[in-house]
Assembly symmetry: C2
Homo-oligomer: 209 residues x 2
């Protein structure tokens, strides 16, 4: 099973690495980080570099396609090359997935027209404007399309997907291996639970404001 | 505030990237991935390469020291160079932290003698044999030492640390920015909650068995 993770400059690293840590543990999985060119890809903080070890042309028909988000999604959506790859890979994929604002890339590629999908909570309006039916949920499955909410939601998405691909017990083995028994020290992970002041502060500095 | 994340071949990527995603968002934080030499570092799956953009010698006195785990910890503990750096960096650090079996590296460096600490649930016995006082907790704070349980626990550890460093509201802002409102699809994240059969299967293939 070939899994392609699209990476690009100014991606949010955890969007990609959370699901990678889960999906790479699936029996028979071969996961590859791909970009429009081989070589270094710099994350949104400017402090982390991942290597793309293959180009998108090297992996035209992955079984699973995973698109992370981050501020670099804007440049990806402004170019045609990666969008054409997403569109084409989706035609033959078993699963097409995204994390955070990666769903804006899927939507711009035309993959989410009329589909239920999610994104970072700050980006749901933009997701709607691109033709998807946005859902305020952590993980949304619509047919073969699986989308996750912001950043850390990719871990929940990947465990859900692992269960769909390999069954519940394999997914549970992976969950136990990565000791995913979350205990957030604060209750501020969603706009519904966070203090109003915290929500307002984040909205004020959001690029989606 | 200088944050150094020690990386090494065969590390578990999420151990490092989970906390990176949180701590890099702290006001005034400059986070650097360091290794015993500059250049590519391959993760435990063999499918992901991170770049170390500085050597440990370039960052001798970080304010925050973070040591991830993964099977590569064995080789790190067998060499003297990184251990000497950990020992020396700990002398002047404000916070010394680890995720997963990164605590075995801290312990081998002599930093955890008589200290309460945690590790991946499969590695707690080994942590005890190295002189620490192992705790079955997700995040353990003992003075300036903050250790996390397996892999994904690094996110909880980093949010805890973010609160200690910058206050609760900043930590909550980061939590909301990465939408950390976890919803694991299965209840199998700890040996206490996972089905017995799943625990037994993982114990059977563990390198700590």
């Amino acid at each position: 099973m070939q899994i392609a993770v699209l990476i690009f400059d100014r991606l949010t690293a955890l969007d990609a690495i959370g699901p990678y840590e889960v999906l790479s543990r699936l029996p028979g999985a071969a996961i590859t980080f791909v970009a429009d060119r081989r070589g270094p890809v710099r994350s949104d903080t400017g402090r982390l570099t991942l290597l793309a070890e293959a180009t998108i042309d090297d992996v035209p028909r992955p079984d699973v396609l995973l698109v992370p988000g981050g501020p670099g999604e804007v440049a990806v959506r402004a170019g045609e090359r990666s969008l054409a790859w997403v569109r084409s890979a989706h035609e033959t994929s078993t699963w097409t997935t995204s994390v955070c604002t990666g769903s804006l890339i899927l939507a711009t590629a035309g993959v989410l027209n009329g589909k239920r999908a999610t994104s970072h909570w700050l980006a749901l309006d933009q997701l709607a404007s691109l033709g998807a039916l946005p859902q305020r949920e952590r993980v949304v499955v619509d047919g073969k399309i699986v989308t996750a909410a912001g950043v850390s939601a990719g871990i929940d998405m990947a465990l859900t997907l692992a269960g769909l691909i390999a069954g519940e017990e394999v997914a549970q083995l992976i969950q136990l291996a990565i000791e995913y028994d979350p205990r957030p020290p604060f209750s501020a992970g969603s706009p519904a639970s966070a203090p109003e002041r915290v929500v307002a502060r984040l909205q004020a500095i959001s690029r989606f404001a």
